[in-house]
Structures are given as structure tokens and as C-alpha cells.
């Protein structure tokens, strides 16, 4: 038996969504989130603004501690207060400011309109409930449907997330499932109430790469089928390239760049984004170039600033190869540099 011909890699060009029917679903504006007391605190999220459009996948990418999780928890109304303080800003959804909703109203939004999944599914799955029970309870609570109906729908959801033998899985407990299966159950549960936005916080970070690829395919598949918008949070620029339509880059609590995915990778404006893209080892250099020489990675000097220090100018200035005096003194705000491509950096103005 001979080895089958090697299949070519199926490549597709990413096409920007049709700009005529874009509608903004959620708009975050000037969000500041602190931890501590009004007097003594750290700034975890510092003036963050962005929007999520219908049917798109927006990725937020950044290194650990830059404020990705805190940002997404604030949309869900899940910032623990205290010690969290939402100091400023608004989160507009469906004509309402989520930051000013009553607890009861927010709970409805959480179940019906916006759902969230996490890196470790065990944190949100109830270990003593079978898969079937936890899925149907969620639907009974939020959709007010009967147990029988909820069960039927739970099985449908398990099929949607491509779990083999869904009837059998319904009777199993979370610990009896593999990591990949658990993440599928989480996605199925989150989608069972047909949310308009699915927030996924590092959903594949704890998974092995072959399982990660399955979950990314599943999420792309579901987005196309259900027309759900996805807010995808990750630290991995490889994953972003695989899943995002649009990307928001965060650094030390601030947003520093925003663009459509192809544009961001081809034409990074902010020196931090540029540095990150050069600092990652990449396989495509072996795959494309005929005569690829292994280049040393361009390392970024220094480390992320401590959030205990107040930053006057650009938070990246101490590590930036282009920094001038202005950078250490004045804070650059997000500005459109190229149509649809925004960055918080003084350099384009010099």
C-alpha cells in the first residue's frame, strides 16, 4: 500500500465582511476598571473602547495580565465589587447601558443575550450534575421551557457541537469527559439559549493542539450556522490568525491597536504589535520560502510594566525602539491611521 498523495493545504483568503450591512451589537466606551479602594488601587483596565458587530468574531489579544479577562467579565457584569471598581465608561447593548442594569435584568442578559465560556470548563460546570441536567436546567431557567423540551434541545445542542453519542453523554458527569469534550459541552450549554454574543476567554489554551484545532473549527462552523457574534480572547497570535475577523491588541490595561485581521498582520502600526509578530517562532517560513534561513527571533527588551505604577505617557515607551521624549510624557490615544485601522502611538505623526 503506497502512501496517499500529500494533500495540499486548503488555503482561503480572509474576506472582510460586507461593510454595507454591519450593525453594532455592543459598544464599550472609555472603560476604567480598578481593583482596591478609591484611595489605593491598581488600574486593570484603562480607557478601553471597542465595539462588536453582528456576526463577526472580534479577538482581543495580549499578554497575561493586560486586562483581557477583566474586560470580558465587565460585559457579563461579573466583576467582583469590592475589590473591583468600575470607575468610568459605558457598555451599550440593545439600547441599554449594561453597567447600570439592576442585578435581575443583568441576569437575563447573561442567560439570553450574552454567554461566556472559560479556559477551564470545570470552573463553570457543576461536577455533581450530569451533562444533560446542567444543560436543561440552564434552558428551563432562561427560556421557561419544559423539562422534556429542554432535554430534547440539549441533545440537539450536543449534536451541534459534534459530540458523538449525545444520548449517552447526557447521562455522564463532567469528570468523565476529556478536556476537549468538556469544552464542547460548555459551548453547547452557552449556545443553548441562542445568545447574540458568545464571549470565549482563552477557550483552547488548556487543550492540546489537535483538540484546539477541532474546537476552532467548531466555533467557526457555529458562527456561520447561528450567526452569533464572538468575542474571542487569547494570548496566541497564531490562534487569532485562525479565527478573528477583527483584532484588538491590548497592552498593560490599554488598547493599543485595532484592525481587520489581515491588515493587522501585514501592516502592524504599533511598535508593540510589530514586536510581538517578530518575536514568535513561525512555521510558515519553512513552508513558503524555498531557501529559508533560520533567523534569530527579534526579542523585545524588558518586561510588561507593573500595574502598581502610574504610567504618564505611552505604556510601551520603556520598551519601544522608536520612543522619543514625547512618548514618556504624553499619552497617545487610539486614532485612525489608515481607514479602519487604529493605533495609540505617536510615531505615525512624526
Amino acid at each position: 500500500m503506497g502512501k496517499p498523495e500529500k494533500k495540499g493545504r486548503a488555503l482561503t483568503t480572509v474576506v472582510a465582511s460586507n461593510p454595507t450591512n454591519i450593525e453594532t451589537l455592543l459598544r464599550v466606551e472609555n472603560l476604567d476598571i480598578l481593583f482596591g479602594t478609591a484611595k489605593q488601587h491598581v488600574v486593570a483596565v484603562d480607557g478601553v473602547s471597542f465595539k462588536i458587530n453582528t456576526g463577526e468574531t472580534l479577538a482581543i489579544v495580549g499578554e497575561s495580565g493586560c486586562g483581557k479577562t477583566v474586560t470580558s467579565l465587565s460585559i457579563m457584569g461579573l466583576i467582583p465589587c469590592p475589590p473591583g471598581i468600575i470607575d468610568n465608561g459605558s457598555i451599550q447593548f440593545n439600547g441599554k447601558d449594561l453597567l447600570h442594569l439592576k442585578m435581575e435584568e443583568m441576569r437575563k442578559v447573561r442567560g439570553n443575550d450574552i454567554a461566556m465560556i472559560f479556559q477551564e470548563p470545570m470552573t463553570s460546570l457543576n461536577p455533581v450534575l450530569t451533562v444533560g441536567l446542567q444543560m436543561s436546567e440552564a434552558m428551563m431557567a432562561h427560556k421557561g421551557i419544559s423539562r422534556k423540551e429542554a432535554r430534547k434541545r440539549a441533545i440537539e445542542m450536543l449534536k451541534l457541537v459534534q459530540i458523538p453519542e449525545p444520548e449517552k453523554r447526557m447521562e455522564q458527569y463532567p469528570h468523565q469527559l476529556s478536556g476537549g469534550m468538556r469544552q464542547r459541552v460548555m459551548i453547547g450549554t452557552a449556545l443553548s439559549c441562542e445568545p447574540k454574543i458568545l464571549i470565549a476567554d482563552e477557550p483552547t489554551t488548556a487543550l492540546d493542539v489537535t483538540v484546539q484545532a477541532q474546537i476552532l473549527d467548531l466555533m467557526n462552523d457555529i458562527k456561520a450556522k447561528l450567526d452569533t457574534s464572538i468575542l474571542f480572547i487569547t494570548h496566541d497570535l497564531g490562534v487569532v490568525a485562525e479565527i478573528a475577523d477583527r483584532v484588538l491588541v491590548m497592552y498593560a490595561g490599554r488598547t493599543i491597536e485595532e484592525a481587520l485581521v489581515t491588515e493587522l498582520y501585514e501592516n502592524p502600526i504599533h511598535p508593540y504589535t510589530e514586536g510581538l509578530l517578530r518575536a514568535i517562532p513561525r512555521l510558515d517560513q519553512y513552508l513558503s520560502a524555498d531557501n529559508s534561513v533560520k533567523e534569530a527571533l527579534k526579542q523585545m527588551p524588558g518586561i510588561v510594566p507593573s500595574i502598581y505604577k502610574k504610567i504618564e505617557g505611552c505604556s510601551f515607551a520603556p520598551r519601544c525602539p522608536y520612543a522619543r521624549k514625547q512618548c514618556g510624557q504624553e499619552r497617545p490615544v487610539m486614532k485612525e491611521v489608515v481607514p479602519g485601522h487604529r493605533a495609540a502611538c505617536w510615531k505615525p505623526e512624526w
Partner: protein, 338 residues
């Protein structure tokens, strides 16, 4: 340094591993016998040449860390031999191991848990000299300063506690400590997996510099094939306790021959949206348990090409081309014809 005879005997290899096995007992019967075994490492053979970096890649639970721990003899092998500079260290007793301990050193994944936070950075790096009684206080101090310099830490940091350092700096302390006794082989077990991307590059570049400076050989272990490819001359791909494919880096990435390597390559996210795939061509399902691994080829339960022979016979790792070894029955015919 290596003597001339060992040089000829070892054929330029720093380490030659052959038939290495590690079965961990799982559970006990009433009579105290193990109920089962986890076949963590099952008949693995490879060599690393002087000055070479061999990358070991595979998903979690494939046995990578166990191989590393066997090589530094933190674990005792169930079977097999490990010739370090020509001498078999697989059966040595604790006392007999001492002269070899300096020669092979391990750098661990988690710089947070592998260093005692209550020790000063300088003490962590001088500890190996004290344990192995190498030099007096003045000499040790001098050596520690040199090591700090080599790994890019400042002398003033010698008196700081390890918890005051960032992740990348802690990994530097770990590396300085590993370098203390002039090792010839370094086992780096996921040395950058816990670090942020911008810091990963700093540590990877440092390891490359040290390799030249100190004439080191590396076994570089990681689950991320992009990282492994970047630092390794050759790559060994592992799955459920066995090596599936071994080849030079460029060859392996461009022409993966084992179906498992192919699926790894199809799965790895590529930071280039223009190369986005509609669907990843990866095996469905999860990695089976090493307690009752599949018969025959370990990958057959997920392999898209599996046929009857795959369940019956364990495919042996063998060269199908010069310097390119694969363990897969798809190549049996090719081999017989040749």
C-alpha cells in the same frame, strides 16, 4: 572534555538511548501488586550528537517529561540503556551517579515552582557548587557572578529573593543554576511554555547563545512544534510513549511522513491570516490513555490511514530515507520494494 577513545566509541554522540522504557505502576491489588501500568515511555531509542539540539515534541501525556527525568536519573528506567559519553548510566546507583550529575542538567517548565522563593538568587546558583564541593567561597562567588553575566542577569540581583523576579528572569536563574557544574547536555523541559510571548524570544535566544558559548548539546522538549522547530537541528515526534518520526527540522516540517506528524502540522495555528484553513485536517477524538494503549500502532485509533496490520503489529522506527525515520506500516511496502 571527552577522551579520544570515548569519542570513537560514541561516534560523536553525547548520548545514545536505546530501548528505553518507563512503566509507572497504577493502583495496587490486595497483595500489593500493581494493578496496571502507565506505559509512559515504551521502547524509545535516539541519539544526540555533540553540540546538537534534538527537539522532542508531542501532545500532553506523550512521555516527554518522563524521558527528561530518566536522562537526569530522577526516575529509574524499567528497561533500556542510556549511554552518556559512552558510559551506561541507566543502572547506576545514587552514589555512582554523582560524577555524572553535573554532566547532564535539567531546566524545568515552571520557573515559579522549581525555585525556592525564600532563597536568594545568588544562593540558588551557588547551591550546586556547595553540594558538589566545588571551590571555596571566593571561587564560588566569582563563578556565580560569571554565570549571572552569562544569562543576562545583573550582579546587583545576586542578593535578591527569587520571588522578586519576573518569570523570564526566574527562568534565567534556573538556567544559570543548570550551567553551574559545566554540563555537556541540557534537558530543557518546556522552558518557555509558561512565559509570555515577548519574553519567550529572550529566553530562546539566550539558550542559542549559551549553546555556542559553552559547547552544549540540548534535548529541547516542548508541545509547541513552532518553538521546537525554531531551536532544533533535528526533531523527534512522540505520541503515547513512542517515537513516531525523527528527521532534520526543515525536512520534518516540509515533508512530514508520519500521519501523526501530518496532523500536528495541520493543527498548529499559523500566525498568518492569509494561510487560514477552512477546516483543519486533524484526527477527531482524544488521545487514548497510556494505561491500556492501543495494540499495534499507538496512533491507529485516530489515524485516517489505518488498516488491518496497524492493530496487529507495532511499527518499528526505521529510516525510510537518509536521516528520516518513521514508525508507520504505510511504509512497509516501500521498504520491501527498495
Amino acid at each position: 572534555m571527552v577522551g579520544k577513545d570515548t569519542m570513537t566509541k560514541t561516534n560523536g554522540s553525547i548520548i545514545q538511548v536505546s530501548g528505553l522504557k518507563k512503566y509507572f505502576p497504577i493502583g495496587r491489588t490486595l497483595l500489593g501488586k500493581p494493578k496496571n501500568f502507565a506505559h509512559a515511555v515504551d521502547d524509545v531509542s535516539f541519539t544526540i550528537k555533540q553540540g546538537e539540539t534534538l527537539g522532542l515534541v508531542g501532545e500532553s501525556g506523550s512521555g516527554k517529561t518522563t524521558i527528561g527525568r530518566l536522562l537526569v536519573r530522577l526516575e529509574k528506567p524499567t528497561a533500556g540503556s542510556m549511554l552518556f559519553e559512552g558510559k551506561d548510566i541507566s543502572l547506576l546507583k545514587k552514589r555512582e551517579l554523582k560524577p555524572f550529575r553535573g554532566g547532564i542538567q535539567m531546566v524545568f517548565q515552571d520557573p515559579y515552582s522549581s525555585l525556592n522563593p525564600r532563597m536568594k538568587a545568588g544562593d540558588l546558583v551557588s547551591e550546586p557548587f556547595i553540594i558538589y564541593r566545588k571551590g571555596n567561597r571566593v571561587e564560588i562567588k566569582e563563578k556565580v557572578e560569571k554565570l549571572f553575566d552569562a544569562v543576562g542577569l545583573r550582579k546587583e540581583q545576586i542578593d535578591r529573593y527569587s520571588h522578586e523576579f519576573s518569570g523570564g528572569q526566574r527562568q534565567r536563574i534556573g538556567i544559570a543554576r543548570a550551567l553551574a557544574l559545566n554540563p555537556r547536555l541540557i534537558i530543557a523541559d518546556e522552558p518557555v511554555s509558561a512565559l509570555d510571548v515577548s519574553v519567550q524570544a529572550q529566553v530562546l535566544n539566550l539558550l542559542a547563545e549559551l549553546q555556542d558559548e559553552f559547547d552544549l548539546s540540548f534535548l529541547f522538549i516542548a508541545h509547541d512544534i513552532s518553538v521546537v522547530a525554531h531551536v532544533s537541528h533535528r526533531i523527534a515526534v512522540m505520541y503515547l510513549g513512542k517515537l513516531m518520526e525523527v528527521a532534520e527540522t526543515k525536512e520534518l516540517i516540509r515533508h512530514p511522513r508520519h500521519p501523526y506528524t501530518e496532523s500536528l502540522m495541520n493543527a498548529v495555528p499559523i500566525p498568518n491570516p492569509k494561510l487560514r484553513r477552512d477546516k483543519h485536517d486533524v484526527p477527531q477524538g482524544d488521545i487514548p490513555s497510556p494505561i491500556n494503549p492501543p495494540s499495534g500502532c499507538r496512533f491507529r485509533t485516530r489515524c485516517p490511514h489505518a488498516f488491518d496490520r496497524c492493530a496487529k503489529e507495532i511499527p518499528l522506527l526505521r529510516e525510510i530515507e537518509s536521516k528520516h525515520a518513521v514508525a508507520c506500516h504505510l511504509f512497509d511496502k516501500e521498504m520491501e520494494d527498495a
